[in-house]
Symmetry: C2
Subunit: 383 residues, 2 copies
């Protein structure tokens, strides 16, 4: 049975001081339902990706909370919260996809939401994606772990800090035309290189912001989708893989094995090759991650990721535009919401609704990664 | 397609000072795999129910952590953490069930784990199951919310504190014969009535403990199950429902609507009636909850729950033995693990492996509730 996406909606990403957790979701959820042209009572189940409402807000049981505030409690539908660090949204999407595949549900909403600006120790909470006992206890955090990865990758394959800067420059440029983006302004290579180090060689402008935000998608069985929607986008594959949580256990830090495994499974299931991908949203939580993901997804050979950005191949007018939304770097990274937001961008591209960011695409890919790569989800969509 | 359970395993429940989060899981996981007689490499996916490793341990991304420590990272299988307060384990089970139903997986492990004794503010963290902005901000916690429910139920239907005490007495008696139980000792009605109030009319001995613990189940497609297992237990239905999170929004506090809805869907899907249930594990987080659940599950009419315990109908030798394990009250309540542990007890009963707790049963039911009832999951099993 094929599964389709029939509606999408995102809140603005950024520092949403004026809104609480539930209000942020509501904005995205209502847009998605309206976009799908369905009524709330047609929804059979709700999946919510959220990384850490516990530590950010002292609130667990968040899917029930969202169902309640969205007016779905009256319907008593199942509401499930899914967590896999900053891949939570993508994993929630995959559970919604499996729920429809099971044949038990026709219409399922997959959403992601994160409210982070209410607390001060955000970077500590974000580092809960890494192994607390084996990494963070010894002083590591997410930035220092990615810095280690960047160092090794640069040493082995000859990339430089200027190459990383090009990723941030490209993504900021794309975000200018994205109305929901956290940062809608261009930056220069010089801006990136002169920004302070977070963990050398990674600088402030190599790092995605920690944003508030929400996104929602309406998934449906093909039969339902054909009935209500003129331009459904089909989920050709949604595959997830895991890897060792702590870097110390991995064979090779220059590659994310979960990304390799999830993408190869997804290509096989979708019956495509990496060359068939027309547009992609990748997980540029730090600039180095996007470079490594080019390689691990097979967009180029291992070690040649730098070439793709140097030669403009992943720019908006290149062969494989990557992060047309602005990516996590400039559209913003609202941990549990990002995976859904990424898929929503691909949906917009495939439906021709991406405005000034529009590229020509029939097949799109979204990759979400949890922490330093212990979780990866690859979704392949086709219009 | 039918889904079967082919193996189960639980750690001891209690204050496990000598073990960390990952070690507790490992004990349960290895037992379940051994019980199923399969090898680790046959596992296609892992689901982990966990309520709040974030607040208890500062650790998110817990399914990846568990997959890693259990030796499954090498296989790169999908590892998904699911959260719905103290129904987390049951919701993880349901996602594992749907994953097999989708036809994409043959063998899936559903586990639950919670490590709570490393921190001091446990009852605050447990109350994150309730609405932080609309309930806890004003001073309510889980105990006071259940006390409110108890007061209203007792006033309307004429139960007394002695009736509630009988639930605790029964469950402690059952736990004596459960080797994994947190409290393996009998208590008397007098013990309960003389214990201090937590939130009047609920006393310390009306309340389930906050335990460490883990439990794991191996689920498989019927075809796989028939090949490797002599006594599979079949999942006839696993249905989930939600309700308003905050009590203020609910029409009637003497009934949990999510329990009513989930159970009626489950009975229908399993093709049974409440009278067909031979043994049940209910969510006695406070004694009043078990009484209300008798009624909401249709084991008796509304308001007659007290009669079932007064007349011994739910005792080990009664018509519908409830909480043969000792329930959350005496077996222990390890939030995210309890839903799996409850199903494991029913599996033991249906396979004739419950030792001195054994009852005669062909059909069993497990009910898990999140917080004060915004989530309910009802699972119907048949041998």
């Amino acid at each position: 049975m094929r599964v389709a996406i029939i509606g999408s909606g995102c809140s603005r990403f950024g520092e949403l001081w004026e809104k609480g957790f539930r209000e942020i979701y509501l904005e995205a959820g209502l847009k998605a339902i309206e976009d799908a042209g369905i009524e709330g009572k047609e929804i059979n189940a709700l999946y919510v990706g959220n990384m850490s409402a516990g530590m950010f807000l002292g609130q667990e049981h968040v899917a029930a909370l969202i169902a309640d505030y969205a007016g779905l409690a009256e319907l008593n539908i199942p509401a499930v919260r899914v967590e896999a660090a900053d891949a939570s949204g993508a994993v929630a999407f995959r559970e919604a996809y499996l729920a429809i595949k099971s044949g038990l549900f026709d219409v399922v909403v997959a959403a992601g939401v994160e409210k982070v600006t209410d607390v001060s120790d955000q970077s500590k909470i974000v580092s809960s994606a890494a192994d607390q006992e084996w990494e963070c206890f010894f002083g590591a955090n997410l930035a220092s772990l990615y810095a280690l990865i960047a160092k090794i990758h640069m040493k082995k394959f000859g990339g430089g800090e200027e190459d990383l800067a090009l990723i941030a420059v490209k993504n900021h440029k794309n975000a200018v035309n994205n109305p929901i983006a956290h940062y809608r302004r261009e930056i220069s290579v010089e801006d990136v290189l002169s920004s302070p180090y977070v963990a050398e060689p990674l600088k402030v402008l190599d790092s995605a912001p920690i944003s508030d935000g929400a996104a929602a998608l309406v998934l449906a069985s093909e039969e339902f989708a054909r009935r209500v929607c003129d331009d459904p986008v089909f989920v050709e594959a949604c595959c997830q893989a895991s890897d060792y949580l702590a870097l110390q256990s991995r064979e090779d830090l220059t590659s994310m094995k979960a990304v390799v495994k999830a993408s190869r499974k997804a290509y096989k299931r979708a019956g495509i090759d990496s060359k068939d991908v027309d547009v992609a949203e990748l997980h540029d939580v730090f600039t180095i991650a996007e470079i490594i993901q080019y390689e691990d997804l097979g967009f180029c050979k291992k070690g040649e990721g730098y070439k793709l950005i140097r030669e403009g191949i992943t720019c908006l007018n290149g062969d494989i535009p990557v992060n047309t939304s602005g990516g996590l770097k400039a559209c913003g990274h609202a941990a549990g919401a990002s995976g859904i937001r990424q898929i929503a961008e691909i949906v917009d591209q495939l439906r021709g609704k991406a405005g000034k960011r529009q590229v020509d695409a029939e097949i799109g890919l979204s990759l979400s990664v949890g922490g330093t790569g212990a979780t990866a989800v690859v979704t392949v969509l086709r219009r």
